[in-house]
């Protein structure tokens, strides 16, 4: 199979998955909103009087049969019309898109930090796994793996903001305020990534061709750079693809802790206020983003690793 058709297949598969995801999630939201009682009352808020509730009910057509409402809802979603935010009174999707850049910046910084820490550390750990210093480091990574990312965030704030007063922890105020949130988000992934890179490196180092290369007099550095690292990087790239959803979950909570102006924080505050148009738009954007990232890693894979093209053929 050629690279092109592999890419097309990957795109087609991800496109179909995205469609299924969007339909099922919006269906879930649609019926949950109606199951949770009178949706008009939910949308109007706790303090609304009967008149407002009736007005909202009429405006959103909650009096129509359920099936009609559902079809109208799906049709509106296809045309990307999520309605206006109930609190800000502006287009819900536009509100979410405004925040996209901040969330992506944070995710990108976190990925860069994750790679910068876990690739060298993992390669070092996996290169000679039995060495004593490696064992202690492994134990340390193991304990770090048990610390939830958001607690890392709280500890970082305590240390750098409250005790040392070096950094700020609120919002996006330029590069110095990027450090703590992106470190926090990276801490969701780093221990996992270190272990994967170390395991891949150790596995490669046990291969016959490494012994052959060593016998021909290749230096440690050459072994690491030419054989162990490329394989380890492959595993790391795969992990980024599968863990992106996890990273998005992490960015929800990281953005709340640091009052970061991304759509995770927007989603949480909209959920708290039951601002449903914004919740739906945010969930929609997150679904599209996750699918795009997965499609891109799929394609990157079939370009980087020729074995996958033939492997996928046999499935």
């Amino acid at each position: 199979m050629t690279a092109d058709s592999a890419i097309l297949r990957a795109l087609g598969r991800r496109g179909l998955e995205l469609l299924v995801l969007l339909v099922s999630i919006s269906t879930l939201l649609f019926f949950l909103l109606r199951l949770s009682g009178d949706p008009a009352a939910v949308l109007a808020g706790e303090e609304a009087d009967a008149e407002t509730v009736a007005l909202i009910s009429q405006r959103y057509g909650f009096d129509d049969p359920l099936l009609i409402q559902y079809l109208r809802y799906l049709a509106a979603m296809v045309s990307l019309d999520f309605g206006n935010s109930l609190t800000a009174q502006t287009d819900a999707l536009a509100l979410v898109m405004e925040r996209l850049g901040s969330t992506l910046l944070l995710a990108l910084l976190a990925l860069v930090i994750t790679a910068a820490i876990s690739i060298p550390l993992g390669a070092w750990l996996g290169f000679r796994p039995a060495a004593r210093s490696r064992k202690w480091t492994n134990a340390l990574v193991f304990i770090l793996q048990g610390i939830p990312g958001y607690i890392v965030g709280l500890l970082l704030i305590q240390l750098f903001v409250v005790e040392l007063r070096w950094l700020t922890s609120i919002g996006n105020q330029g590069p110095s305020s990027w450090l703590l949130p992106s470190l926090t988000l990276a801490s969701f992934l780093v221990p996992k990534m270190v272990r994967i890179v170390a395991a891949n490196t150790a596995e490669t180092m046990a291969e016959d061709y490494i012994r052959t290369a060593r016998a021909t007099g290749a230096s440690d550095a050459a072994l690491l750079m030419r054989h162990a690292l490329p394989n380890a990087l492959l595993g790391a790239t795969a992990l980024i693809g599968t863990q992106f959803a996890f990273l998005m979950s992490g960015s929800l909570i990281t953005e709340v802790i640091f009052a970061w102006p991304g759509f995770g924080a927007l989603l949480i505050s909209s959920v708290e206020r039951l601002d449903f148009p914004v919740v739906q738009a945010a969930v929609f954007v997150i679904a599209v983003l996750v699918s795009v990232v997965n499609a891109v890693t799929d394609i990157a894979f079939s370009v980087i690793d020729p074995r996958l093209r033939t492997a996928r053929q046999s499935v």
């Binding site: 607690i151 989603l267 708290e272």
Partner: protein
């Protein structure tokens, strides 16, 4: 070698057996830590000391180990040690129910997918892949906002949002087990597929399920505390670890210790579960390596 006891910890160590002994040690350490948690929950958690719920302004913000408060007091003068203990049933209870739901649903669907072929299997696999690719916390916060906070909404939501992870693992594992000779023999002997799945494949999944139970339990514990921290988990008045952490944020400057007790409780539990999970998986890998 085949007479080696299941826990090789007390066996004389050969040079070549360092790794197995390490796996046993991890499992035993993890189980001991888990036992401590269970005992603390049964003794203090279900019957929390008076000081966990009532405090007075006279005793607010006492640092740890002062005036008889082991871990200090919070903004209302309640004992933090008591509150963290009272949070144990919430954390372990929600995680236990959520993990059970996630594993039971996931195993059932994974086994069904493994016994089907063609289109039905592909559809199930696509659903699994699709749900895994979506951030489960996003689903959870939205659903809980609608269903309301509380033990059952939280446990059900977490369980139902994470079953695809167990389903994918069970499916992959079951696919390799159905190719084993004894399954083939059962098939040839005319045993029906549902029976084969339940009586021949499921028992072989035990080490996988035990490992998954530990790791999923850890994930659920983190998710519960994270959601409570966001204010979308257990009721706001409940002394859950996430709620205490969230309250501690308002007193970071005056009472930095408030954060430490619940954070330590979460980390202790998660490390215990990771030790158990890694220990079981290393031991089962060693055993299957020996069998072949």
């Amino acid at each position: 070698m085949s007479t080696q006891p299941a826990f090789g910890l007390f066996k004389r160590r050969h040079a070549g057996f360092k790794k197995p002994a390490m796996a046993d040690a991890m499992l035993i350490l993890g189980l001991c830590m888990a036992a401590i948690l269970v005992v603390l929950t049964l003794v203090f958690g279900l019957n929390p000391p008076q000081s966990a719920n009532t405090g007075s302004l006279m005793t607010r913000f006492k640092p740890p180990a002062l005036d008889g408060y082991l871990l200090g007091t919070d903004q209302l003068g309640r004992s933090l040690a008591g509150r963290v203990a009272a949070g144990m049933p919430w954390a372990l209870g929600v995680a236990m129910v959520a993990t059970s739901i996630s594993l039971i649903v996931g195993t059932a669907i994974g086994l069904v997918a493994a016994s089907l072929d063609g289109w039905p299997r592909r559809i199930i696999r696509m659903v699994i892949d699709t749900v895994i690719a979506f951030p489960s916390l996003v689903i959870a916060v939205t659903v809980i906002a609608l269903l309301g906070r509380g033990f059952w909404p939280l446990a059900l939501t977490l369980g139902l949002a994470t079953w695809p992870i167990s389903a994918r693992v069970v499916f992959a594992e079951a696919m390799s087990i159905v190719q084993r000779d004894y399954v083939l023999a059962a098939d040839l002997a005319g045993v029906a597929w549902p029976k084969i799945m339940v009586f021949h494949v499921l028992p072989a999944l035990r080490p996988t399920l035990l490992t998954m139970f530990a790791f999923t339990f850890a994930d659920m514990l983190i998710a519960e505390s994270a959601l409570s921290f966001l204010g979308l988990g257990v009721p706001l008045s409940a002394p859950s670890w996430g709620n205490i952490l969230s309250e501690s944020r308002e007193s970071l400057v005056v009472a930095p210790w408030m954060m430490l007790a619940p954070a330590a409780a979460i980390i202790f539990s998660v490390v215990a579960l990771n030790l158990i999970g890694d220990g079981i998986s290393a031991i089962s890998r060693r055993n299957s390596g020996r069998a072949s």
